[in-house]
């Protein structure tokens, strides 16, 4: 299966070149081909997981640095993540067939889109530090170019700049981490790192760097602030890939390094992941709930969901170091499940945002409204996506949160006091973020699709192209399917869970019967169980019964009339609740301290004809504390370096000569 994946990578790279050569006229064909390639890769990943998961395949290609050929390998972990990103990739490419023409400058998107997909796949199969970092950097740069494709819109150039700086910082952290892990002999192959994991202080520094490097790419608090700038700036199908797939690649990096290469890590790292994850979940969704730009809102929700997954991974580490295999398997399953779910839901929601943007030219919630009448199909699919990302049963988002809660509930058996107290608190934060996510998506959906149109463009919106609808429908179908049959993906990830937790996910431990597929009972049956399938059937049955009952008992007469609104209906859509007013109670309760949200009301004196003004200010504390200094430093350095661009040849030669002499002196002294 490794050869299939590598072939897909090569094919996607070739598509990138074709995109550059043939350009926009071929865009639809290139997207269609990319969709096929991703679908093939996804199928290959599934086949690998089902049939050969226990035998990793490896391949050495004589490319790259002369003394180190490029190593590639696929194991269950890589295959799972390959499945996740290629599902998102397929949907995104299908969506792009219809959507691509609506980009500002399609010529800047078409060539880089397949390259971005190829780079993400390549990261997953890399088996030495060089290949990994090169693929990682390729992924960063191709997505950066895609972020920059709408460069004429205000704010996007700045978003791209911040993204580039942060991506470079993340890569630098990973580079250093690999340097430490490889040791003085330069054993850069993953196999050799795995055999000799770093020890002591070196391990601690390396892991901290890994957390910083992959965490900044995944969008963990406090290194998240670039994400809500960069992800929304790209065209929507790329935003979907960045949020749905690239953050997953970052999580893959974290898992690969922390669970696989670093050897057994102490429980403190698990506790750190739980803390960072819980914090990210709450802060991310708090930002999202007060945000008025639909795509930025979704990007903040990505921060939340990455936090949830990382928290579950942290629990897995904690349970594993305390030799509680069954619970580690549960937490690991929950985390991997959430990775899959988030890729599905977030891609779907970004497609919805793209569809809304295509049909109205808007993504500001204050200017949308009433789209359920104009875009019936999109609105229905968006409702499924919103409900599943708000973690509502019987959809898929609920399953992974439910599993995470089950893992949290088993925390009192942990011996460490800090964890005994800390994990339930993290559970409370998780519950808070789930409740806020529901509020956030009621607001997003309600303001965009329900109510009355708040702008002329929203009132004249038209339904989007079929390929876009099909992409959304496919993902919405997955939301329902995965939600009601969670044991199917759980069975697919079983080899991976077995490898990392030492034991099987409990329901899979002694085979699976048909009944087991219906009921999810993660620890022991009879203790805690959930069945999305039965819930769905029961809800449908009870709903049908009540419709039938009501229509027998009641009259079927229905009259359309003006809205009641306590007797004072106002025809102007401006009298509706707006997105900002919807968020006001939540802003007042939570954001006034956490985000320093302040409402400023400028009310003119009686007799003054000046209009009253309301302004809202918020600060991202992580930005102030972490990003602003880094950004200032880089800008300062760049301005100093700028003079180097305009030197004479003689001066350049001086620099080169000095560098050479310094190197030679260093070598001489080291000897």
């Amino acid at each position: 299966m490794l050869s299939v994946l590598l072939a897909v990578v090569l094919f996607l790279l070739a598509l990138g070149i074709a995109g550059a050569v043939f350009g926009v006229p071929w865009a639809a064909r290139i997207y269609a081909a990319a969709a096929c390639a991703c679908a093939v890769a996804a199928v290959a990943a599934v086949v690998f997981l089902v049939a050969r998961a226990d035998v990793p395949e490896a391949l050495v290609l004589p490319v790259g640095l002369p003394w180190l050929s490029a190593h590639f390998r696929i194991d269950a972990l890589a295959a799972w993540f390959a499945l996740v990103i290629n599902v998102a990739g397929t949907a995104s490419a299908v969506f792009a067939i219809g959507y691509g023409g609506h980009n500002d400058e399609p010529a800047r998107v078409v060539p880089f889109f397949p390259v971005f997909l190829a780079a993400m796949n390549l990261v997953l199969v890399a088996d030495d530090a060089f290949a990994f970092l090169i693929a990682w950097e390729f992924m960063s740069l191709s997505s950066w170019l895609l972020v920059l494709s709408n460069h004429r819109r205000p704010g996007n150039a700045r978003a791209a700049q911040v993204y580039l700086v942060m991506a470079a910082l993340g890569t630098a952290c990973l580079l250093l981490a690999f340097g430490i892990m490889a040791g003085p002999d330069g054993a850069y192959r993953f196999a050799s790192i795995r055999d000799n994991p770093p020890q002591g202080a070196a391990a601690a520094i390396a892991l901290a760097l890994v957390l910083l490097g992959t965490g900044s790419k995944a969008g963990l608090v406090p290194v998240h602030a670039w994400l809500p700038l960069a992800h929304p700036a790209a065209p929507s199908h790329v935003s979907a890939l960045m949020s749905g797939a690239m953050t997953k690649v970052a999580i893959y990096g974290l898992v690969r390094l922390l669970f696989d290469l670093a050897g057994p890590v102490p429980w403190g790292w698990g506790a750190a992941l739980v803390a960072v994850g819980a914090l990210s979940a709450v802060i991310g969704i708090l930002h999202a709930v007060v945000e008025r730009d639909l795509k930025t809102l979704l990007a903040f929700s990505t921060v939340e969901n990455v936090g949830i997954a990382v928290m579950a991974f942290g629990l897995a580490i904690v349970f594993r170091t305390n030799a509680m295999g069954t619970l580690a398997a549960l937490a690991f399953t929950a985390a991997l499940f959430h990775v899959l779910n988030h890729a599905i839901m977030k891609s779907l929601m970004f497609f919805v945002a793209g569809a809304v943007e295509v049909s109205t030219g808007q993504r500001d919630l204050e200017k949308l409204g009433g789209l359920i009448h104009r875009l019936p199909v999109t609105a229905t699919l968006a409702l499924i996506g919103a409900a599943s990302i708000a973690a509502l049963p019987p959809l898929n988002g609920f399953v992974s949160e439910w599993l995470t809660f089950q893992a949290v509930l088993n925390s009192p058996s942990l011996p460490q006091w800090v964890l005994k107290f800390g994990v339930p608190v993290a559970g409370a934060l998780l519950a808070l973020s789930a409740a806020l996510a529901a509020a956030c998506f009621v607001r997003a959906y309600g303001m965009a699709f329900l109510g009355r149109p708040r702008s002329r463009k929203a009132a004249e919106a038209v339904e989007v192209a079929p390929s876009m609808r099909w992409a959304m429908a496919g993902l919405a179908g997955l939301c329902i399917g995965v939600g009601i049959l969670p044991m199917v993906p759980a069975a697919a990830m079983a080899p991976l869970v077995r490898r990392f937790a030492g034991v099987d996910f409990a329901p899979l431990a002694d085979g699976l019967s048909f009944g087991d597929f219906m009921l999810l009972a993660p620890v022991t049956p009879g203790v805690s169980s959930y069945s999305g399938f039965v819930v769905l059937i029961a809800v449908v049955a009870v709903t049908l019964a009540s419709i039938e009952g009501v229509h027998r008992l009641a009259t079927n007469r229905l009259r359309r009339a003006a809205a009641w609104d306590c007797g004072f209906p106002d025809p102007s859509p401006a009298t509706q609740y707006t997105a900002s007013s919807f968020a006001q109670p939540l802003r007042r309760v939570y954001a006034s301290t956490v985000l320093r949200a302040r409402d400023h009301v400028d009310m003119p004196e009686p007799g003054d004809a000046r209009p009253a003004r309301f302004t809202l200010s918020m600060r991202d504390l992580a930005w102030d504390a972490f990003y602003a200094p880094v950004e200032r430093g880089v800008t300062w350095l760049a301005e100093r370096m700028n003079t180097l661009q305009f030197l004479t040849i003689r001066r350049y030669l001086v620099f080169m000569f000095t560098a050479l002499i310094v190197l030679l002196v260093t070598v001489a002294l080291a000897k």
Partner: protein, 319 residues
Amino acid sequence: MIAAAIAVGLQLGQLLLVLLLAPLLTGIVRKLKARMLARKGPPVLQPYRDLAKLLRKEAVVAENASWLFRAAPYLMFALLWLAAALVPTFTTRLPLSAAADLIALVGLLASARFLQALAGVDVGTSFGGIGASREMMIASLAEPAMLMVVFTVALFIHSTSIPAIAEFVLHNDVGLRVSFALGLISLIMVAVAETGRIPVDNPATHLELTMVHEAMVLEYSGRHLALVEAAQMLRIMFYMALIASVFVPWGLAGQGARIEDVGIGVAAFLGKLLAGAVLLAIFEVSIAKMRVFRVSEFLGVALLLGLLATIFLYVSQSA
């Protein structure tokens, strides 16, 4: 085979029981409140008559309401009915309860609330928005508080399935548990907030600036309103049944229950409901409604009590 048939029968009986008793419960609470305020009050059976009247009336729907507005009452009603039917009222032998544990029940309620809030903003009026926005704010605190109570119970009993919890409390000497007491207070506060009772919301008012739930369902009429009202009654029923089955499960018919046990179970449940109605009425007449932004502090206390309950679990465990 017979056992399965009995189990299915009990489950169906439970579905019917909660639906039939829910309006009665509301009627009793209203009557008791009125008597305590020295009013005569509506008859106890008035809620049934109200529902019957609403069902017969023509439904008036706003011109720009979407299909979601019309579908939401049915779905909401079904979700709450199902949720109430999954909590053991008179027996723990409920085959469907394996499909949804306590956390999933919280999820079902959240789904109902999601639909209700969406229906609130659908017509595009300011009242619908105000109600939906406040409802989601209240829920954002109430839901974590409720989950903390679930945690407390589950950490102690090692199960989140309600029949298992009820059986555990029935058959083990749990004693006077501080954590449970704290959890009970927290759960009551959550229930008061979620069912829209005083001091969080006033079920009997249409005073614009203070209402939450009523504002959200302002546009409903006829059969849709009947469903929304019935759903709200079922919500009260759900919380009463939940509190009864977790904290005072005595009288519940167990797994191998005979017909007399079922009778005892029903009688005990009726008694518990009556006691709950009296307590709710006393509570409601003795305090005033609070400002909307005090609600966050009220529920903050519920959340913190839940946290304290979890913390004290470790303290008490060492005894």
